[in-house]
Symmetry: C2
Subunit: 208 residues, 2 copies
């Protein structure tokens, strides 16, 4: 197996899962800034032009983080990160998706639309998408809503998707750390989120 990797929040989700499972998968790092994910060579492997991608020994290439993670979970079931029974599996998937769609994607919207180097690349994996000024503000509103929702949830539950650390936390952590990097850290007074963030961040896997 080989992981196509980059310094970005989405590949980090896969790296943390791989580290939690103690796997040693060779990686090839590409530069999103330099558009190395958009070359014909890379798109011949990873059709959507997205990173990460997992190339299997038979040449099959899997993309999309949850699909990659579900494959790895099936091959290396322990520690379990995606649920042990149908209801837990569904709840982890719910919170994982929410953390991507309302967390990572909101921060991405804020960041990409305000960053001149990504002109024409307002969305991942596709060119010809101009930056849109109004999306900087929209991204900020969405980040605020994401923080509010997870603060509320983390008042009821120690972790996001379940009562233990799972892929939902990995994705939310990557979203929050991405937000912190672009000066939208956890809002003051969000004590549940602070507690959860500290607990997640002390896991060695999250250095990935």
């Amino acid at each position: 197996m080989k992981l196509y990797d980059a310094q970005a929040p989405n590949p980090r989700r896969a790296r943390i899962l791989i580290a939690e499972k103690g796997l040693d998968i060779p990686t090839e790092e590409l530069s999103i800034m330099d558009g190395e994910n958009l070359t014909p060579e890379y798109k011949a492997k990873s059709r959507f032009g997205l990173i990460p991608a997992l190339e299997l020994d038979d040449g099959t290439v899997l993309t999309e983080v949850p699909a990659i993670c579900r494959y790895l979970e099936s091959q290396y079931p322990e520690p379990n990160l995606m649920g042990r029974d149908p209801i837990e599996i569904a709840q982890i998937e719910m919170w994982e998706r929410y953390s991507e769609m309302s967390g990572s994607q909101s921060v991405g919207e804020y960041f990409r639309n305000g960053f001149a180097k990504l002109d024409d690349r307002g969305l991942p994996g596709i060119t010809g998408i101009p930056r849109i000024e109004a999306l900087i503000d929209r991204g900020e509103r969405r980040i605020a809503s994401f923080y509010e929702t997870i603060e509320d949830r983390l008042g009821d539950s120690e972790y996001l998707g379940s009562d233990r650390f799972t892929l939902a936390d990995i994705t939310a952590l990557c979203a929050v750390d991405f937000a912190r990097m672009v000066k939208h850290g956890i809002p003051d007074g969000n004590k549940n989120t602070e507690r959860w963030h500290a607990a997640c961040s002390q896991r060695p896997s999250t250095k990935a």
Copy 2:
């Protein structure tokens, strides 16, 4: 069980899967136009304010279409719609996600940002998101890219996620039918997509 339903492309994904499996699940229909998904009562059940949601007999509420579908697939495995082995499962998930993120969401972006009745509701499940004129054009570009990618894929494969009809096709079909409704039908000459669309559309489940 009970399904919270609406006349919209996302709940249709769940309805088609339910019909394929021959299940008879009672539904309660809400109006997205009237904001019935955003009331405190509904959000107490479905925290993200999204439809569909599946309420189980013990009161647990599952949201997010793939999570709902994976739960139903675990309880009613036949006909299989989400994969029979780890690689097929991952490939179906890849194409299902792509069809949502680049298909349904692109059409949604085009539609919501051009539709005065959804002012302040430029994104699902959240208010205070103004419509943005520039997203009408961006949505159109993304729809074009989606059509190009699936046309290419359907030249290699009879169906999107596998060699048979799966959840990936359900999600892509709902995206394409939503696009057709807003005058962005399958581009002329996309013969693979036409063939696939006709094959999917003749299944009785897709009347759902």
